[in-house]
């Protein structure tokens, strides 16, 4: 809301220097965002919170200035008498068809008006706020809107067919050309003002061009009404029209001010347009005015604010804001009557805020609350698991990314993510907001692509975030960590570089499993759509998948315009959290020396390294404390369809130094088992 200082001074004698005034208003909750010089005047912009429609007027602001600067009262502008004269004749009629949407409508006929350019002072006032002036007929309603906060509309009375005002819902198919020259389609959701034939205004939003006040207008019908905020808001959104008028109706206008504003405007029409205001006005009013009285216990004020106030101070603050205050029941209690323009004040806490606000929050001494020791951990298990996973990934030189969880369904399709269980947004603004992700893969691939385009070819990134699914009409949210490796595994001047492989990714994943103390997991080949066939696997615990890892297939890479090989893993954080080793127990460090024996096999290429490892573990039992594969060879030294696998096995007993014979017997058993079961030969 723009406020001209010279205009404001019509209602209150502002004695404070501008800077001081701005500070006081800001500390009372009227944040002044900008101050401009307009001619010899100063204009400042106040951000008005949605609960204070009464501040959307000069009178409202003047009231607040009075309160913050300790001035008792403000100058109320001149009006015609607020009393309705008994009507002798009825030159027009008002018929409200929807009293919920329009519970009060005041119509007033002003005859023999002289419509021309506005007088200089009014033009200057309206223009100082950056608004347009039209002619004195229209400008007076505008001026009163800013002055009183009540939007009004002036119709050219002679153009109203049947001299009747009907407030009703529009019918589908009806149209109106509004004063901005736009033809608008109406329907039942829109409240209109109609004459006996046509819509003549969109209620509370904009008037029609057919009944607009022009310099030819002789007689004016002045509308001042209360329209239901929700009705007006819906219509305004539907039509895509916003105005100073609907802005105020949407926030609720003061139902008592409807009359005051009408009498104020009538006064100005009489003074400025030399209009005849002798005709009685019609006030159709269905609003029951109930006064709100709140019992205000000052002990509660101290209890909530942490500061003591004198009763006299509380009284004077509330009175300066337009509340009336009487002693209440009980010693420390006041009985406070709320003025009609303060819809936002309903309970004691609202009064507490008023007192604290005008006193100034800066007057309240800071204090620290008593802190109670609590037995619960400051972090949940899942939060700790996420933090741990983040630390472990960072320690492996993998960088963290954060991506947007909404995306187009096309992105999900491009990453070959199962179209089932998708969560779709009903009201996206763009395709990029169509769906929540059901996998971390698409947004991660976008990051890879964006960096590749910037010539960053070596990517090691992870994200910790949720995926969202709709399963049998229930929504679920599951947290995962994604890991992506692409480009060089390492790079230095001595060993040069090697491209990342599946084993690099498997290494990252296994190091996480190790650090979480998860040992009873199974590694399984499993075909997933977005992975290359044969390079697609999952890790399970108790049959449940906790990690999927593999190489992103060519098609998906192409869809994301990626020419490099990309390795991707997705880890279920809740599963890591629930399967983590929760307690550690010490076992004594081995006292006796270990013996290392190597074995090199030649096997058919189809034999898996893992099978050999399993046989070694099975056969040697607990005696083999470590088995390492140290070489895999194919080439001239072995037959074409074969490969050589070389293992190093470390034997150790916790109870005794192993004898040569003992080790030999176990090792040869292992050897025999390998040869027999794998159909292998020694190399």
């Amino acid at each position: 809301m723009k406020i001209s200082l010279s205009w404001l001074k019509k209602y209150i004698n502002v004695s404070l220097p501008l800077q001081k005034l701005v500070e006081k208003l800001t500390s009372a909750g009227l944040e002044v965002s900008e101050i401009h010089k307009v001619g010899s005047d100063m204009v400042f912009d106040i951000e008005i919170t949605s609960n204070r429609p009464d501040w959307l007027s000069f009178l409202g602001i003047a009231r607040e200035v009075a309160a913050v600067s300790g001035i008792k009262s403000i100058n109320i502008p001149k009006t015609l008498p607020l009393k309705v004269k008994a009507s002798m004749k009825k030159p027009f009629s008002i018929d409200i068809k929807d009293i919920k949407a329009c519970p009060r409508y005041i119509g007033r006929l002003i005859t023999d008006v002289d419509i021309r350019e506005s007088v200089a002072w009014m033009k200057a006032a309206i223009e100082s706020l950056g608004a347009r002036t039209i002619n004195n007929g229209a400008d007076i309603t505008n001026y009163c809107l800013y002055e009183t906060g009540q939007p009004m509309h002036a119709f050219d009375f002679d153009k109203i067919k049947g001299s009747s005002i009907i407030v009703r819902r529009a019918q589908k198919g009806e149209t109106i050309v509004t004063i901005d020259g736009v033809k608008r389609d109406l329907d039942e959701s829109i409240l209109i003002i109609a004459d006996s034939v046509n819509p003549i205004a969109i209620a509370g939003i904009m008037g029609g061009i057919a009944t607009e006040v022009t310099e030819e207008t002789k007689n004016i019908l002045l509308e001042s009404a209360y329209f239901d905020p929700v009705t007006i808001r819906r219509a305004s959104r539907k039509l895509g029209v916003t105005s100073e008028s609907n802005y105020r109706f949407e926030r609720k206008v003061d139902s008592e001010n409807v009359l005051f504003a009408s009498c104020r405007a009538a006064y100005l029409y009489k003074e400025i347009c030399k209009g005849n205001t002798d005709e009685p006005f019609l006030d159709i009013n269905y609003i029951k005015s109930g006064t709100r009285i709140i019992a205000f216990n000052l002990e509660n004020l101290e209890r909530l604010i942490g500061m003591k106030f004198a009763v006299t101070r509380v009284k004077s603050i509330l009175q300066s804001l337009g509340f009336s205050v009487k002693p209440g029941k009980g010693k420390e209690t006041l009985s406070v009557t709320v003025p009609s323009f303060r819809y936002d004040v309903n309970i004691e806490e609202d009064l507490i805020e008023e007192v604290a606000r005008i006193e100034g929050f800066d007057k309240i001494q800071e204090a620290m609350p008593p802190i109670k020791a609590h037995i619960d951990s400051a972090y949940t298990d899942i939060y700790m698991s996420k933090s741990k996973m983040r630390r472990l990934l960072l320690a492996q030189g993998i960088n963290e990314i954060v991506t947007i969880t909404l995306m187009s369904t096309r992105s999900l399709d491009n990453a070959m993510i199962d179209p089932q269980n998708r969560v779709l947004v009903v009201n996206p603004l763009s395709a990029e907001q169509e769906a929540l992700r059901t996998s971390l893969l698409p947004s991660t691939l976008k990051v890879v692509n964006a960096n590749l385009n910037r010539k960053i070819k070596r990517m090691r990134v992870f994200e910790i975030g949720s995926i969202y699914e709709k399963v049998k009409s229930k929504f679920t949210q599951t947290e995962f960590a994604s890991v992506v490796l692409t480009g060089a595994s390492y790079q230095n001047w001595k060993d040069h570089s090697r491209q990342v492989t599946f084993y690099d990714l498997k290494g990252v994943v296994e190091s996480l499993l190790d650090s979480f103390g998860i040992s009873d997991y199974k590694f399984e080949n499993k075909k997933l759509d977005y992975f290359s066939p044969g390079l697609s696997s999952v890790i399970t615990v108790d049959g449940k998948v906790i990690v999927e890892l593999g190489k992103i297939n060519k098609k998906v890479c192409e869809n994301f315009d990626i020419a490099e090989e990309v390795f991707f893993a997705q880890l279920n954080i809740a599963a890591f959290c629930s399967n983590r080793k929760k307690q550690y127990r010490f076992t004594s460090v081995p006292k006796y020396p270990s013996v290392i024996r190597d074995i090199a096999l030649v096997v058919k290429k189809s034999i898996l390294g893992g099978e050999a490892m399993d046989i070694i573990r099975e056969t040697a039992g607990s005696l083999a404390i470590k088995t390492e594969l140290f070489d895999v060879y194919t080439g001239d030294q072995v037959p074409v369809d074969c490969k050589s696998l070389a293992f190093s096995i470390e034997y150790q007993s916790p109870d005794a130094t192993l004898t040569e014979e003992h080790v030999n017997s176990v090792h040869s058993k292992v050897q025999n088992e390998l040869l027999a079961r794998l159909n292998a030969s020694l190399r």
Binding site: R237, E353, P370, N451, I456
Partner: protein, 343 residues
Amino acid sequence: MNDKLKSIHAEFEQSIVSVSSNEDLEAVRIRFLGRKEGLVTNMFKDLGKLSVKEKPVYGQKINDLKNLITEKIAQKVKEIEQKSIESLKSKGADAFDLSLPAFKNEIGAMHPLSIVTDEICTLFVEMGFMVVEGPEIETEYYNFEVLNIPLEHPSRESFDTFYLHKKSLLRSHTSPVQARYMEKNKPPIQIIVPGKVYRPDATDATHSFMFHQIEGLLVDEGITLAHLKGVLSVFAKKLFGVKTKTRFRPHFFPFTEPSAEMDVSCIICSGKGCRVCGGNGWLEILGSGMVHPKVLKAVNIDSSKYSGFAFGMGVERIAMLKYGIDDIRLFFENDMRFIKQFS
């Protein structure tokens, strides 16, 4: 005495010339300056035999000789070093080149939003708060109704919230977690809630339709606005530095009463006024207030016995101020040249 000094000096000059290694040099140092049997050291011991008049004279002379020897030895150290570098260079390929780049173990860079979230949560944990999280897919009840945001409130209209279907939506703030937590836990309650939130804004340098918030809540007997000010001022000082000033302005939020916005003295200009703070010296950081009695009532907490305060802030905004980042989109583009600045 004089003669002895002269001969020691002469011997030193002779031996130092032929020194070419650090080992030889150390032998020379021990011979002349060694603590037990050094020739010069021994001269000091002889001083005792002299008369009171002679003592200072010779004392000075011995000292001069000691200083001279010390200086020459230091000079020699440099010479030897220089020679060894030269000889390395002349030997060429055989030498070990220490200047080649290291084989560094990389450490990953944490995302700036994680850094700031972590930092803020830790600050509050140090003040006794617990970190709690809640779902991003919410119901209208938790996102609005329980928080005293009635149907007519403008933020309820569909363009301000992403809807999934009729009653389900993507939470537009982290406040629903307050209500969820209060439903299940009795005071004292002291929680801090980080998380993603969604608002259908058009994306630009300061708006993103997904962003992060951190919410806080403290409910107990006797909690006042003075406590709100106390805790949040400590927070501001911990986050932006001890000299940070705070200002609380009355504001409006449906779920708090009274409500306040907190400004901190501009971290760029310390309150003098600059481009970042729009010249007024203050930066708006968070919204806060005393929990509205209707909210307490909705979660079955007796507002005549308990009171509390809540606050919420945007992580991106704080990270942008703290690091001087000028475009919110950078957080979600994940350009490695951006991310690695925070490692």
